[in-house]
């Protein structure tokens, strides 16, 4: 137990160090290296925050759902934690995605929320879904049943994501009559490099937060177990 805890600490520290190096590098690239966008100018730089954060959010939700499935398969309570922690972080990153998306909408389209954007609308549905996950998690007593119910709901999200993407595309004509033309799709070398660095920075930050939080939750569990032992109940 001691050796694995020590290894976990090392991994968490390592991930945190990587994030601490990549973050300033990415920020430097975004503000000082990458050239202004031809159409949108300086403000387009928020793209290098928004899209990597959104991708990190999806990655966190994906990891959470994968561990949810593994929990239902094995019944190992550790996997419940590994499913809950990324969901929890995913909601934080998701909030950042919505905020940066909203700012981007304001600078490019002059409105705080653009109902014609399929990406924003899909993300909104999925964000609401994961908020509901938390409501479920907090209203069920801790234990095996909460783990099962959380896992079931997390997996339902896997069905919801493609369904929402389709629905929002299908519903374009009913949500908003203006068609949305994608831009930023053809990035030149420096833009792609900055984008990938920013993505790497966000992902390493998420991994570091995940490992630290997981460790904290595990310590909570151990304290609870020790307290139970001290009271003489198994």
């Amino acid at each position: 137990m001691n050796t694995t805890a020590a290894a976990r600490l090392d991994r968490a520290t390592f991930a945190a160090l990587v994030a601490a190096v990549l973050m300033p590098v990415a920020l430097g690239l975004i503000f000082f290296y990458v050239p202004n966008d031809v159409d949108q100018g300086f403000s387009q730089r928020i793209f290098y925050f928004h899209v990597p954060i959104a991708m990190t959010t999806y990655a966190l939700f994906g990891w959470g759902a994968l561990n949810a499935a593994r929990y239902l398969w094995t019944g190992d309570m550790q996997l419940d934690l590994r499913s809950y922690v990324p969901m929890h972080l995913g909601v934080i990153f998701g909030t950042l995605t919505l905020v940066t998306g909203s700012i981007w909408a304001k600078v490019s389209w002059g409105t705080w929320w653009y109902w014609g954007s399929t990406e924003l609308n899909t993300f909104l549905i999925i964000f609401l879904f994961y908020c509901a996950y938390f409501m479920l998690r907090f209203s069920v007593e801790p234990g095996e049943r909460r783990a099962r119910y959380s896992a079931v709901y997390a997996l339902l999200g896997v069905g919801l994501i493609p369904i929402s993407v389709l629905a929002v595309h299908l519903g374009q004509d009913v949500i908003h009559p203006i068609t949305f033309t994608d831009h930023g799709a053809n990035m030149d070398g420096s833009m792609l490099f900055t984008f990938l660095m920013s993505l790497a920075a966000m992902l390493s930050l998420a991994v570091a937060m995940y490992l630290v939080e997981l460790r904290g939750k595990r310590l909570d569990d151990q304290v609870a177990r020790l307290r139970r032992l001290a009271q003489g109940t198994p």
Binding site: L72, I125, I126, L128, F129, A132, M135, L136, S139, V140, R145, R148, Y149, A151, V152, Y153, L155, L156, G159, L160, P162, I163, S164, L166, A167, V168, L170, G171, D173, V174, I175
Partner: protein, 227 residues
């Protein structure tokens, strides 16, 4: 054998509803009141946005009405402690979900037999007549989706401290894509010129929604029923 068990479970729900009629009548009253509210809230005239806005209201009203019914899902089993009897029986537990989803779907259809003509009367009388075949198909497909997902989510919500609050919170994110699909399909039946999409694509989307959540319900329900 399992077909007999399934039929017996659905028959049980229908019998209880016919005798006690605790769900369907309440849903009918609710949906009619919702239409009246919309009508008065929008001030007498034809809703701005025409058919599109009207069908949007229809589906929002239907989703909230369905939620009212879903709150009573498995209520008898819960209140009278019958779960243990069903769980001890040698049947696949997914069958309990499937039977419940079927009866919920039948209740929804029963409600809509009243609600849809009333809706037409309130909002669309002056407009063009819909394509009835497509309309019925869209409504039934949407009902299947609501019932399949709703029966699963109702099971999840019943473990929470505040079931009545939790169920809408858990259900509504899933209702958004369903309402989008259903509105798109029903608007298309009333005024087909609004978009370039084919009817088949719109109904196909609803069918896909149903398939996904029927599979999820079938696979996941056994994790929901135990204490």
């Amino acid at each position: 054998m399992s077909r007999r068990a399934f039929a017996a479970l659905v028959r049980k729900d229908l019998l209880l509803e016919l005798r006690g009629s605790e769900v369907v009548l309440a849903m009918v009253a609710f949906v009619l009141a919702a239409f009246v509210l919309f009508r008065f809230g929008l001030g007498g005239g034809r809703p701005a946005g025409g058919t599109r806005a009207a069908t949007g209201m229809l589906w929002v009203a239907i989703v909230f009405t369905a939620m009212l019914g879903l709150l009573r899902t498995f209520a008898q089993e819960r209140e009278h402690g019958i779960w243990d009897g069903l769980l001890a029986a040698p049947i696949d537990r997914a069958l309990l979900w499937l039977a419940r989803a079927c009866s919920t779907c039948l209740f929804l259809i029963a409600v809509q037999v009243v609600a849809l003509p009333a809706f037409w009367l309130f909002f669309l009388q002056e407009g063009p007549a819909p394509d009835y075949g497509v309309l019925v198909a869209a409504v039934v497909l949407a009902d299947i989706g609501i019932a399949a997902l709703g029966s699963l989510v109702a099971g999840l919500a019943s473990a929470g401290r505040a079931r009545e609050v939790l169920l809408p919170v858990l259900f509504l994110p899933f209702a958004i894509p369903l309402v989008l699909g259903a509105v798109s399909a029903t608007t298309g039946t009333i005024s087909p010129q609004t978009s370039g999409l084919h009817t088949v694509e719109r109904l196909g989307y609803l069918a896909l929604y149903d398939t996904v959540f029927v599979l999820f319900g079938w696979g996941l329900f056994e994790f929901v029923v135990e204490d």
